[in-house]
């Protein structure tokens, strides 16, 4: 499989990273180099192997479903580029 300019454009869009049209061919080339490197994995026989989800065979811990933290909206908003009246502010989402 190889990555053409259209695929590169689509990947950039999915990743929400703006890439100028003129930079797409170089990006496609770079991604192709990496994908070619990954394709070595096709040489491995993985029949019957379960994909690994975690390295340690442990069950995730559970805790009581109770509130342990909260009531700190000022601290939550403190680093926001734009916060107004207790909310994160963003450009208009719905027309």
């Amino acid at each position: 499989m190889s990555i053409d300019v259209d695929t590169a454009r689509r990947v950039a869009k999915l990743a929400r990273i703006r890439v100028d049209e003129s930079d797409l061919p170089a990006l496609a080339d770079e991604l192709n180099g990496i994908v070619t490197f990954m394709e070595q994995l096709n040489a491995v026989n993985v029949d019957g192997v379960e994909p690994m989800t975690g390295v340690t065979p442990m069950r995730l811990k559970r805790r009581e479903d109770v509130v342990t933290d909260g009531n700190m909206p000022e601290r939550i908003l403190k680093n926001a580029p734009d916060a107004r009246e207790g909310f994160f502010a963003v450009p208009k989402v719905v027309e």
């Binding site: 703006r18 994995l41 994909p51 390295v55 340690t56 580029p81 450009p91 989402v93």
Partner: protein, 494 residues
Amino acid sequence: MSKSLNSLTIAEARDGLRKGEFTASELTGACLTAIDGADALGAFVHKTPDIAREQATAADARLAKGDAPDLCGIPLGIKDLFCTKGVPGQAASNILAGFLPEYESTVTSKLFGAGAVMLGKLNMDEFAMGSSNESSCYGPAVNPWRSDDRELTPGGSSGGSASAVAADLCLGATGTDTGGSIRQPAAFTGIVGLKPTYGRVSRWGIVAYASSLDQAGPMAKTVRDTAIFLQAMAGHDAKDSTSADIPVPDFEAALTGDIRGKKIGIPREYRADGMPAEIAALWAKGADMLRDAGAEIVDISLPHTQYALPAYYVIAPAEASSNLARYDGVRYGHRAKLSQGDGITEMYEKTRAEGFGAEVKRRIMIGTYVLSAGFYDAYYNRARKVRALIKRDFDQVFAGGVDAILTPTTPSAAFGLGEMASADPVQMYLNDVFTVTVNLAGLPGISVPVGLDSQGLPLGLQLIGRPWEEAALLNHAYVLEKAAGFVAKPGKWW
């Protein structure tokens, strides 16, 4: 004591502080002076002298009362990936410019709770993605070692940590290791670096790169220091669901120097084609040292080794593309200036294009690609299956009675800054060829400085241990360290 205070080891400083030979404030002052004289190394990117002096004063009060913990009054550097309350933390990325964490990572809480002193934040590759510290938004950290007038990389991603420890700017530094980011820089700078078993150290409050691989660990001047330092970092944390709720042994007490009868595996697949003769010779010398100490050296096979790097470069970017989705210009850090009519999608796209560096964008997009519809099975699931096979290789070797595995840490000594600029990204990835398997299998690994190459640059060997057996691993490393007798220090040019 004839040594300057900042060049002490953690163990020496601990003992000297307890005996009252000097104060934590004096020790901290010596480090702060050394840091101010070392801007050319680019290691410290946010200095925190006020916090350091305050913590040192508190440490002195605690020492005066007796029963102070081992790290009480010990000045450390903190990798920029750790969130420390009220101190800039931006993972060496412009997208987190101006971010002041409102909380403290579990590791730094534990260190400061034990009385450690924070000297500042340390340089690194952006979001820990890199092997040379050149992807940092601050510019590269520089290796204190040099063989001619070129500036060399301290390695990456924990390059600032390695540079700072090797140059005696601090007594130890935190690092993180996703594919080799503690061990490779430790090898390049002649220090010790340990990546613990996945789950030994809490990841809470550390900026995530690839969550199934990331693990924080200590970087220090000696194996003993590494043991003391790890003790203070390790342990279960309810805030990290992947941290292990198992007892933490006494790591320093494990340093007996006795490895008689232990079995050390030498994996034949690591004898890569084109391995430099110096690296091969160092590896053989290391095996001889362990044999001389009474260990049995055995040839072992880890048949899926060659697939570790390609598997890593599917899995890590996939996880990164998901973890880094949060940098969108809404909650923290950089937001792009928008044009008339721009909506929220333009805000995301422009913010991320401006804020992320080239290597980070590359990895996010590769990760996006391998997780996208139609490719998920072909790449991501296949890589996770290969990962299972890589882990099975290690499981079988350990089940066969092997106690530890010896390999080189890196395929070369430190290279020059900028020398890899024109190489394709895959060339840089090859730096991790000996270290990345350990992350994929979740094992503990340590790099120990063992010798100098023909140009006078440090080289390290890596020991890989059984899961949760950092104590035994440290003891093996201690034997190697004693036998190697590595005492060289970089000549001061900065």
